[in-house]
């Protein structure tokens, strides 16, 4: 199986930095912004963003949370999926905040749909925007689009995008593989 590199290690770092700058450019000091990463894989991205944004803005107290969507999935009982939740850590009210939902890959949009549903259990945010590292275009099953994209990828059915993180996989990179015919 041949892996095609989408983001190499240097490009990966630059992409994360670019997204942070874009966010600061749009939102200034991030005072009303809350970063919310989605379990299980989105939290690697959101933790990285938090660190990078803190370095960039000098603000150590960026509002930050992590959300597990296990109980909000729409495919519960349809296919064997992970039933045991990760840890939700959201110790602030999302009322009137500008929430930035963060995930690694946007594919069908169903995870984000569940994430929105789970988020609303914590209050009524002023707005919600979506940041993803990889946007797999033309594969959406729901009308959900990202506001911030690291890299857009046009992948066919049978192709798989893998996002690897230093913290869990030993290396930062994004690759694509294809099922053997």
């Amino acid at each position: 199986m041949r892996a095609l590199t989408i983001l190499s290690e240097p490009a990966f770092g630059l992409t994360v930095q670019r997204l942070c700058r874009q966010l600061v450019e749009d939102r200034g000091d991030l005072g009303e912004t809350a970063l919310v990463g989605l379990h299980p894989r989105g939290v690697f991205f959101s933790r990285r963003l938090r660190t990078e944004l803190a370095r960039m803005t000098g603000k150590a107290d960026i509002t930050y949370g992590e959300l597990d969507i296990t109980f909000h999935r729409d495919d519960f009982r349809q296919r064997p999926v992970k039933a045991v939740p990760g840890t939700t850590l959201l110790n602030f009210s999302v009322d009137d905040r500008r929430v930035l939902l963060i995930d690694d890959v946007l594919y069908t949009g169903r995870t984000i749909r569940a994430g929105l549903d789970a988020l609303m259990a914590f209050g009524r945010p002023r707005s919600v925007e979506l940041m993803v590292l990889i946007d797999r275009r033309f594969s959406r099953e729901l009308p959900i689009q990202p506001d911030y994209v690291g890299r857009a990828v046009d992948a066919l059915n049978g192709q798989h995008v893998h996002v690897e993180w230093l913290e869990s996989d030993g290396k930062d990179r994004v690759t694509m593989t294809r099922d053997e015919q």
Partner: protein, 316 residues
Amino acid sequence: MSETLGTQHLLGIDDLTKDDIELILRTADGFKEVLARPMRKVPSLRDLTVANIFFENSTRTRLSFELAEKRLSADVVNFSAAASSTKKGETLLDTVNNILAMKVDLVVLRHQDPGAAVFLARNTKARIVNAGDGAHEHPTQALLDAYSIKEKFGRVAGLKVAIVGDILHSRVAWSNVLCLRKLGAEVMLCGPVTLIPKHAAELGVRISHDLDEALRWCDVANMLRIQMERQGGGPAYFPSLREYTMLYGLNRERYDRIGKEVVIMHPGPINRGVELSSDLADSAESIILQQVENGVAVRMAVLYLLAAGLDRTGNP
């Protein structure tokens, strides 16, 4: 780490493996977090219907199950024997089949006869959760007790738990012994000779007839109620309640004499002033109300994990 239960029903702790129990406790952590949210509800069971069938009185357990079901967005129907056709001679199986004919996916059953839940599981298609069958088992109580111990101490393995009181008639005691032993805790049963089952020591537990000795030994004391309703009209098991309280009742004076901290638990309902004095029941040493709170999260975990095994088409 396993992600699915090894059983289709929760009939008793006896059927669960250590992995099953740990899976339930881990899942309950997630629901405990859900219950702390401003909106304490998730949609997981929104397409399922749960029937709570109670042939025996219960306030806490029924309420706890009903809350758990509602927090999971299930539709809930309640049935209690007092208001039912059983009074008119209908059998258990008929009653339940009638309810199942109305397309119920899960049944929470409490019944005065040991084995009622097993009987139903064998003869109907729904998933059964045993909410107490006679003096046999009360698995969700044991699970929430284990969860509460784990929450308090950070672990269950290696802890010493004394279960005190009417062991003979107690389904809570039996389920607790099985659950705690599977999780690696040491268990001591303490009570009058007449209220300890004859061959209890074969379960791998210690036996004591001296409460002070039990208290000095244990980290956790689970105080049980005297089950007057199960002691029947035969010869008395002990001379008087006053004597029982003197020998096996826990009060502040006795507690202070132990000289160390023992966590006090009680499955409820408490007979204040009999097995446990009022001030201790409400003291910082007691985790009785945490048990009740955890009960909802643990029951959500059980229902959720059982539902995960149900086919979406409704076929079991």
